[in-house]
């Protein structure tokens, strides 16, 4: 596709359930980011993948959060035993190289997660 694709666009789940969010980056983009955006707030960094290097997981808020990426393709963000405070929009972004030092991030439309 032409842009970063995220699915699902909306997810409503019950507290304690696991959820999986998917991100399809722009083809050829080696860098991939996950951010979390709570209502009315800025973006909170979660995790960064660059090519085949070890990911930077320093932003993951707890061990209930994990993410994987196979090579330079699809990434999945998994939240186990969801809590109400996990409710947010989860945004994925990709970039062609060693960005953001060299340029912009391209964002998907986000996955809105609501935990009841």
């Amino acid at each position: 596709g032409a842009g970063v694709s995220q699915s699902p666009s909306n997810k409503v789940t019950e507290k304690g359930k696991d959820v999986e969010l998917r991100c399809d980056p722009i083809s050829g983009h080696t860098a991939l980011y996950w951010y979390r955006q709570r209502l009315g707030q800025g973006l909170e960094f979660l995790i960064y993948f660059q090519g085949n290097s070890a990911p930077d997981k320093s932003g993951l808020p707890s061990d209930r959060f994990s993410a994987e990426r196979t090579g330079e393709s699809v990434s999945t963000l998994t939240i186990q035993r969801t809590q109400q405070e996990d409710s947010a929009v989860y945004l994925c972004a990709s970039s062609p190289g060693l960005a953001p030092n060299t340029g912009e991030l391209f964002f998907g439309e986000g996955s809105r997660l609501t935990v009841l």
């Binding site: 970063v4 980011y33 951010y35 707030q41 800025g42 973006l43 960094f45 960064y48 660059q50 930077d56 932003g59 945004l91 972004a93 060693l98 960005a99 953001p100 030092n101 340029g103 912009e104 991030l105 391209f106 964002f107 998907g108 439309e109 986000g110």
Partner: protein
């Protein structure tokens, strides 16, 4: 932790007027970027300014950077209703690659 802080938090202007918003940051940077987010959508990159640049233009957008004051401003001239959105500054610390975002300025352009 947030690196950039936008000011004001919200701004309401009449169509045709200029909108100015500011961003302050804490540590030295490699570059600073501005993004726009329409309600319920993802972020769209507007402009990037490097630490050795002082001003940059793109269409109706003008960005300035003052590294001595650790601040940047975004000016939107001749605003339109379609400019209604939230605007975020994002910085790249000189030692890092993670883009760090502020809380944003919500701009409302009244017709």
């Amino acid at each position: 932790s947030q690196q950039g802080e936008e000011d004001p938090q919200a701004l309401s202007i009449q169509e045709g007027e200029n909108a100015t918003m500011n961003c302050s940051y804490k540590t030295s940077i490699n570059n600073l970027q501005w993004y726009r987010q329409n309600s319920g959508r993802g972020l769209v990159h507007l402009i990037l300014i490097r630490s050795n640049e002082r001003e940059k233009h793109s269409g109706r957008l003008r960005v300035t950077l003052d590294t001595s004051k650790k601040s940047s401003s975004l000016l939107i001239t001749a605003s339109r209703a379609a400019d209604t959105a939230s605007y975020f500054c994002a910085t790249v610390p000189g030692y890092d690659y993670k883009l760090s975002f502020g809380a944003g300025t919500t701009v409302t352009v009244r017709a």
